[in-house]
Symmetry: C2
Subunit: 401 residues, 2 copies
C-alpha cells in the first residue's frame, strides 16, 4: 500500500469524506492525484511516496515567489524571533499598511485578516455600513469564498441569506445594468472578480467597457465597487487588477499570494469608505499575527523587484505556446483561456472532462501537476527550463491520449 493510500485510509475515519474543500482529491481531481504532500521547494512538490512534480497550481494561488522562498522565510522567522502574537499588533502592521497604500492606487487604508473570504465579507459590511443600503450584486457563478453568500452552494442555507445578494452576468453590461435598476435605491455594492475565473468553465478576461460601466453604475447609485482580487491579486498587476482599464474599486479584497503562503488577507479601501470601516467591528484571533505581515512585506518587495506580472505572463505564455503546438501536432483541440499568468487548459468537446482528466493524469505521471478544470498559476520560482521540462512531460502525455 502506498503511503498516500495509507493516509487516505486513516483520514477516512477522522475527516468527513476523507478530505474537505478544494483540497479534496476525492471530489475535485481524477484518480492518481496525491492527497498528501511531503516536501515543497521552489516550483516543485514531492508527494508522500516521493514522487516529484513541477507544480502549476501554486497551492491554488498562495505561492507566488516559490515554496520555501528563503527571503520570505527569513523575514517571517526574524519577526517570529521578536514577536508574532500579543495583546496588540507589532509595528510591522503599520509598515505593511503603508506599503500597500504606496503600491495600490485606490487604497487609502488597510485592514488585515486571515481568509480571502474574511476580506470579501468585510467589504460587504463596510459597503452596507456607509450606504445604509442592503443589496450587494454578485456575478452568477462567481466564487468569493466558502461562506454561503460567497459560494451559494451550501445545502440548507435559508433563502433569506441570498435575498440581498441578487446576481448579474459577468462581462454583460445589460445584465448588470438591469440588476442595478432592480436594486436601485437599495444598492450598497457590486462585487466583481478580477476576471471571470469560475472553476469548471473557460475563463473570460474582463471587457474594459464592462469594467467602466460597473464603475459608472456604482458612482450613479452611490454604491461600492468591490473588487475581489483574492485569486488574481499581484499576478496580473502590482496594482488592483482593474487598474489596467483605468478603473479603480472603492473596496478591494486580497489574500492568497500577498505573503507567499503565510496566512493573511487584506481589505483595502478609498477615503470615502474609511469612516464606515472604522465603525465596523471586524476582527479575528489571529488577524494581527505579525509573522505573515513580515512575510507579506518581503513578498511585495520581491514581486516589485522582479516585476512579477510581466514575468508570470511570459512564463505562462511560454507554457501556453508549447501546449498549443503540441495539441496541434497530436491532433487535439485545446481551449486555453484566461490570462497567461493564470492559464486554464481544457479540451474542446469534452463536456464530461474525460479527455482533460486523462491528459492531466498522464501529465501527472510525467511529473507535471496540472488541473483539468481550475485555472492554474505560475510563480517566480518557475524558470524557462522548468517550463520546458514540463512541456516535455505534456508532450508525452498528449501521446498517450
Amino acid at each position: 500500500m502506498s503511503r498516500n493510500d495509507e493516509l487516505k485510509a486513516r483520514a477516512e475515519a477522522v475527516i468527513p469524506g476523507g478530505m474537505y474543500g478544494h483540497m479534496s482529491t476525492y471530489r475535485m481531481l481524477p484518480e492518481g492525484y496525491p492527497q498528501y504532500f511531503e516536501r515543497a521547494d521552489g516550483c516543485r512538490l514531492w508527494d508522500v511516496d516521493g514522487n516529484e512534480y513541477i507544480d502549476f497550481m501554486c497551492s491554488y494561488g498562495p505561492m507566488i515567489a516559490g515554496y520555501a522562498n528563503p527571503r520570505v522565510r527569513a523575514a517571517a522567522d526574524a519577526q517570529r524571533n521578536q514577536i508574532d502574537i500579543a495583546n496588540a499588533p507589532a509595528a510591522v502592521i503599520v509598515d505593511l499598511a503603508e506599503k500597500m497604500m504606496s503600491q495600490i492606487s485606490h487604497a487609502e487604508w488597510a485592514i488585515f485578516a486571515k481568509n480571502g473570504n474574511d476580506a470579501t465579507t468585510a467589504c460587504n459590511m463596510i459597503a452596507r455600513g456607509r450606504t445604509g443600503k442592503r443589496k450587494i450584486l454578485v456575478a452568477q457563478g462567481a466564487y468569493h469564498g466558502s461562506q454561503p453568500w460567497a459560494a451559494r452552494r451550501t445545502k440548507g442555507t435559508p433563502d433569506e441569506d441570498y435575498v440581498h445578494f441578487p446576481t448579474y452576468t459577468f462581462n454583460d453590461i445589460e445584465s448588470v445594468t438591469q440588476a442595478v435598476a432592480q436594486a436601485s435605491g437599495d444598492l450598497a455594492g457590486i462585487v466583481v472578480s478580477a476576471f471571470r475565473h469560475d472553476a469548471g468553465f473557460h475563463q473570460e478576461l474582463t471587457d474594459p467597457d464592462f469594467a467602466r460601466a460597473v464603475r459608472a453604475l456604482c458612482d450613479k447609485e452611490d454604491a461600492a465597487l468591490i473588487l475581489d482580487d483574492v485569486r488574481a491579486g499581484m499576478r496580473l498587476s502590482l496594482d488592483a487588477s482593474w487598474s489596467e482599464f483605468g478603473v479603480q474599486p472603492d473596496l478591494s479584497a486580497w489574500g492568497k499570494a500577498i505573503a507567499n503562503g503565510e496566512p493573511i488577507a487584506a481589505v483595502l479601501g478609498s477615503e470615502p469608505w474609511r469612516e464606515a470601516a472604522s465603525k465596523t467591528f471586524m476582527t479575528g484571533s489571529f488577524w494581527y499575527q505579525a509573522a505573515p505581515m513580515a512575510a507579506s512585506l518581503e513578498t511585495l518587495a520581491i514581486l516589485n523587484e522582479e516585476n512579477a506580472p510581466a514575468r508570470l505572463e511570459a512564463l505562462g505564455q511560454r507554457f501556453r505556446d508549447g501546449i498549443y503546438e503540441q495539441a496541434q501536432r497530436h491532433g487535439h483541440s485545446v481551449l486555453q483561456s484566461g490570462p497567461a499568468a493564470m492559464p486554464t487548459l481544457m479540451f474542446e468537446d469534452d463536456k464530461d472532462s474525460r479527455l482533460g482528466f486523462a491528459f492531466c493524469q498522464a501529465a501527472l505521471k510525467e511529473g507535471v501537476y496540472l488541473h483539468p478544470w481550475h485555472n492554474m498559476f505560475l510563480s517566480l520560482a518557475h524558470s524557462e527550463a522548468d517550463i520546458d521540462q514540463a512541456l516535455e512531460g505534456t508532450d508525452r502525455a498528449f501521446g498517450t491520449l
Copy 2:
C-alpha cells in the same frame, strides 16, 4: 514622542480609526495601554518603548503554553522545513485529527480552518445541512466571531440576516425552552458558549441543569447542540468544556489556544453529523497549512503532560485570592467572576468603569497587563513567582485609587 505614539500617528493615516477590532486600544482600553508590542517571551510582553509587562490576556486567548514556547516553535519550524502549504495537505492533518478524536469525547471527525468564526459558521452550515431546518438559537449577547450573525453588532446588516438566529438567555432553562418551542419543527441547532463570557459583564459559570436541559431539547427536536469552545477550549478541560456536566455537544468549534498562537481553528463533530459535514463545502486558502497543525499537536502534548486546566485554575485562584485580600485591605469591593483559569475582575458599583480603568492603568504602570472588562487568561508560562510579582504590582495599584 514615544515610539508607540509615533506608530499610532502613522497608523491613523493608513488604518481606519487607527486600529480595528478587539486589539484597538482606542475603543477598548483606557489611556496608556500600548497599541504596539515588540517582544514576547513566556508570560511577558514588551511594548515598543521597552516597557515590560506580566501578561494576563495571553493575546486574548491564543497563548496558553507561553509566548515563543521553544517546543511549539521547533515543531512548527520542523514542519515548515519540510512543507507548509501545497496543493493538498501534509500527513500532519491526519495525525492532528486522530489526536483530537482521542482527546475530545464527542469528536468522531475533524475539519480544520483558520478563524474561530470559520468553525462556528461551519457548525451552523452542517447543522442546517443535516436537519434541513433553518433556525439556530444563539444566546443574547454572546459572541461567536465578528461575522454579522455571530456578533450582531454590524451596522447595516439586513434584518433577514438575523431572522433565523432567534435568541435565548444563557443559563435560563425557561428562556431556551420557549425559544425552542417557537422554532419547533424548524430548529437546526442551539449554539452555546462554554460559559457566559460576554465581555463587559460579570461572567457566569454554566448551570449544569441548563446544560442538560439544552442537550435534552436538542435531542427532542433533532437539532445540533453546537458548543463554541473557541475561547475556553483547553483551558477548563482537556475535553469539550461541558464534559464536566456529562453533556456532550454534537458539533464543537475550536480555535485560539489549540496551537499556542499559530493560526488554526477546528470543527469537531459526532458520527451522525459526519455525512452532512462531508457534503458541506467549506474551505479556505490557508486552512490546510501544515505548520499550525504541527504546532497544535505539540501544544496538545504539552497541555496533556502538564494537565493544563488544573494548573491554570491553581494559578488563577492564587491570583484571585491575592486580589481579594488586597481589595479587602484597601477597602474596595471587587467582583471576580468566571472560572479562575479565565478570571474576570471588575469593581462593584462601577457602571462607567471609572474605577476599573483607573485600577488597570495603575497596574499597567506597575508592569501588570490586566483587562478592565474582558475575561483574562492564565497560561502554563505563568509561575507562582510571576503571579506573586504581579500581585505586588496590583497591591500598589490599589493603593493609588
